[in-house]
């Protein structure tokens, strides 16, 4: 049985209300934290090896220690709840069903970082969640966990919920900061980094919902104890939101020691592929990370078993590996068309590009139009090479990672499923009749071009 930290009390009825949460040991960690010094909390988080759960996997303790602390300038903690990555919905689950765990994590982190005004930037599409959070904040405030002089420590903290207007780009931390300031959500150029100049030019830390919630078990059990869970540099537990062709889609908490095969096929997690179909491909970390075919998903290029953790998933680089990302686990069975799937993603990134820098603004739309042509039987053989060339010129040449996020799925799809693209070009009529390409990717004999 895997360790459960964030979803340990998931079965408790009414855990989203203060009384029930308190009865089950809620806010005892906050009591413990307020007896510690802020520097000790940062030290514990550092020791725990917690990595940012938003996608990039940057060590949280290190991020916190970068925060500039000039005299007389307020600092801020901003929670990135703009969870817009297609396939990712773990933060929604946490905020909807465990709001007090989240707020306790925010409170401890605010205390550790010295943030008197903490913001939750939540995406506009989560229309009902701000009400849940605001109710939870009000309950916490009534019981003295927020406001002035919390627990007699002399520390003041207020948490504000800020609704976004529904832009994917506002999940990028500098665009989020711009949007929070009331401006157009365009990413800023770095440097200066938010840890030096963030919201209103004040030092700011931006963290994901799950990262901040994970601070609670870290402080409760101690950083060293937390670091024992998991493997290597992938410590602790991770929430994964599974969707696509599996028997049991949903949010799962894993401790990063199970293999990908176990995760997909065991009854404890996804429960296998429905209707006896075969696994074709998978995107293990939200739509931006490279798609991998089944044979490379279950085993690395070296033939080792692939595990669900940061290192193992990215084994082999982008040629044969992928990324942990934000944990949006999308499974495709052999009835799915990779071309159509890639087109859908390209449409999403075209729609969500902010239009600030030229490669992303023009390139994403171009890729979408070409993919649309291929999907609808009007493609040419040269289009595939053209797509490769476009993604190559977008990747790494933009201000923010949206350009990379738009380029990677296209690159990976061409790298691993080139013959499916070619099949679409060569059989335009047939590709219109049956909406899937070739199905032999589930077989272990296939060797991708990039390997």
């Amino acid at each position: 049985m895997a360790v459960k930290l964030l979803l340990a009390n998931d079965h408790v009825e009414g855990i989203r209300y203060y009384d029930t949460y308190r009865k089950h040991g809620g806010y005892t960690t906050a009591e413990k934290a307020f007896k510690m010094s802020p520097a000790d909390i940062v030290e514990e988080v550092k020791k725990s090896g917690l990595r940012g759960r938003g996608g990039a996997g940057f060590p949280t303790g290190m991020k916190w220690s970068f925060l500039a602390k000039p005299e007389g300038v307020p600092r801020h903690l901003v929670c990135n709840a703009d969870e817009s990555e297609p396939g990712t919905f773990k933060d929604r689950y946490l905020m909807e069903f465990h709001p007090h765990l989240f707020i306790e994590g925010l409170l401890i982190s605010s205390y550790a970082l010295g943030s008197n005004a903490t913001y939750i930037y939540i995406r506009g599409e989560y229309a009902w969640i701000p009400d849940i959070l605001e109710q939870a904040i009000a309950e916490a405030k009534n019981h003295g966990w927020l406001g002035k002089n919390i627990l007699g420590s002399g520390f003041d903290c207020e948490i504000y919920v800020h609704r976004g207007a529904g832009a994917y780009i506002c999940g990028e931390e500098t665009a989020l900061i711009e949007s929070l300031e009331g401006k157009r959500g365009n990413p800023r150029l770095k440097p200066p980094f938010p840890a030096i100049q963030g919201v209103w030019m004040r030092p700011t830390v931006v963290n994901n919902v799950e990262t901040l919630a994970a601070v609670v078990p870290i402080i409760a059990m101690g950083g060293d104890e937390y670091a024992k869970i998991g493997v290597g540099r992938s410590t602790g537990t991770k929430l994964l939101s599974v969707c696509g062709n599996v028997n049991k889609p949903g949010v799962y908490e894993i401790d990063m020691t199970c293999s990908v095969e176990e995760f997909i096929y065991s009854d404890e997690y996804c429960g296998g592929i429905p209707k006896g179909r075969k696994l074709k491909a998978c995107i293990p970390g939200g739509s931006s990370v490279p798609i991998v075919p089944a044979n490379l998903l279950l085993k690395t290029a070296k033939g080792e078993t692939r595990y669900m953790n940061y290192e193992s998933l990215s084994d082999g680089g982008f040629a044969t590996g992928t990324m942990m990302g934000s944990g949006g686990f999308i499974v495709l069975d052999d009835a799915q068309c990779v071309v159509r799937h890639t087109m859908t993603l390209a449409r999403f990134y075209t729609h969500e590009s902010c239009g600030q820098c030229s490669p992303c603004r023009e390139g994403t739309g171009w890729m979408y139009k070409i993919l649309k042509n291929i999907e609808y039987g009007k493609g040419k053989m040269s289009d595939i090479d053209l797509l490769w060339d476009i993604q190559r010129r977008i990747e790494g040449n933009t201000i923010c990672p949206l350009g990379d996020a738009a380029a990677w799925p296209v690159a990976a799809a061409i790298r691993h499923f080139r013959d499916e693209f070619e099949w679409h070009v060569l059989n335009p009529d047939e590709s219109q009749k049956r909406n899937y390409g070739l199905a032999h990717y589930a077989d272990p004999i296939h060797v991708p071009a990039g390997a």
């Binding site: 832009a167 780009i169 157009r184 150029l189 075209t350 729609h351 969500e352 590009s353 902010c354 239009g355 600030q356 820098c357 030229s358 490669p359 603004r361 023009e362 390139g363 994403t364 739309g365 171009w366 139009k369 053209l386 190559r392 010129r393 977008i394 790494g396 040449n397 933009t398 201000i399």
Partner: protein, 363 residues
């Protein structure tokens, strides 16, 4: 304590220069000048926070600094990256940069209407210069180009959104020069557009400067529109006593007629001193101005083509193109090699006066 801050030594394309700390790579390259200067479409040294958007000025940093010699993993925007001591930068010597820049030019031209023949900016257009210098011969884009509905933004400035490359310069100009910005970016992605809320006219005293900062023909002068080509007019520096601005301007004249008034631009195409709307749009008489002398425009060679100094074109003073323009003209296309219409044995420059159909008769 009173020590002067040490200058940083930076090497760009194997040319070293010492610059004060805080200088950007682009400005350091401009101090060297010549071919090592990356092109800049959105950066404007006079506007705070500008730059970083067009990605034409990408360079490769092959050595971060003396202390930390690791190269930077990605190409960086030279207009917003400050130099470190001992930094080594590759611009035209890096294949990665040349390739990326080609890509950026292609992206910029993807939805550009290429209506240079009817565009007032033609001849002094940064995008034209950029695509001649760094672009490819043809685009690989096969789809319909994006278009926008035309919007009227007042009696003096004409907005052609189709030509816009989203450099944000005009937005920064309005932010930093005027009291209240009336235009901005609406929408996002490839449908982002410069527009005003509810169709307001741009009426601030200094808003005419957005015409000068615009690198393309998206914002042009309505009082000059379709009146003349820039290379047919002769630029002269002139000044007047203006109560609102410095009054130092550049007149674009033909004979005694003033066709257009703009601010003076330096060798990087950047305005030296902002001028007011009154000078720009209303003082169109030669008697309003005190003419100082002909302006030297090293940047847009096509303007200097029809230059007036020294009776260009007569037999006594032959045209020394390299002296007028400052550099050798590049032949982008030798028409003789691909066309049967033009016969190589007929050398047009040998014919006295304009070519006539008699010159092409087969013997």
């Amino acid at each position: 304590m009173s020590e002067q801050p040490q200058n940083f030594k930076v090497t760009i394309d194997n040319i070293s220069i010492e610059v004060p700390p805080g200088t950007t790579i682009l400005n350091a390259a401009r101090m060297i000048g010549g071919d090592v200067t990356p092109p800049a479409m959105c950066y404007y040294s006079k506007l705070k926070n500008s730059g970083g958007k067009c990605r034409t000025c990408l360079v490769e940093v092959s050595k971060g600094s003396e202390k930390d010699p690791r190269p930077m993993p990605k190409l960086v925007a030279s207009c917003r990256t400050t130099v470190m001591d001992g930094m080594e930068v590759k611009n035209i010597t890096s294949e990665k940069v040349v390739d990326a820049r080609k890509g950026v030019v292609e992206f910029l031209l993807l939805n550009h209407p290429l209506d240079c023949p009817v565009c007032d900016q033609a001849g002094e257009c940064d995008l034209q210069n950029l695509s001649y210098e760094h672009g490819t011969e043809a685009t690989r884009y096969e789809f319909k180009r994006r278009t926008f509905e035309k919007e009227d933004i007042g009696p003096y400035i004409s907005l052609h959104m189709n030509r816009c490359i989203m450099c944000f310069r005009c937005v920064f100009t309005a932010d930093q020069l005027t009291e209240r910005r009336e235009h901005g970016i609406l929408d996002r992605g490839d449908h982002a557009q410069i527009s005003t809320l509810l169709g307001t006219a741009l009426e601030n005293d200094f808003i005419g400067n957005v015409i000068d900062v615009c690198p393309v023909g998206a914002l042009t002068d309505k009082t000059f529109r379709f009146k003349n080509r820039v290379w047919f007019t002769k630029p002269v520096d002139a000044h007047r006593d203006c109560p609102t601005c410095s009054g130092k301007a550049r007149l674009w004249m033909r004979g005694e007629e003033v066709f257009r008034v703009t601010a003076r631009k330096d060798q990087w195409g950047e305005v030296e001193e902002w001028i007011c709307n009154d000078c720009r749009f209303h003082k169109k008489e030669a008697s309003d101005w005190v003419v100082e002398g002909p302006s030297n425009i090293p940047r847009s060679s096509v303007i200097s083509q029809g230059h007036y100094a020294g009776n260009v074109g007569t037999a006594e003073t032959p045209v020394l193109i390299d002296k007028v323009i400052g550099k050798q003209p590049k032949i982008t296309l030798d028409i003789h090699s691909i066309s049967d219409v033009n016969r190589p044995e007929i050398e047009l420059s040998r014919i006295e006066g304009p070519a006539h159909s008699d010159d092409f008769k087969k013997k």
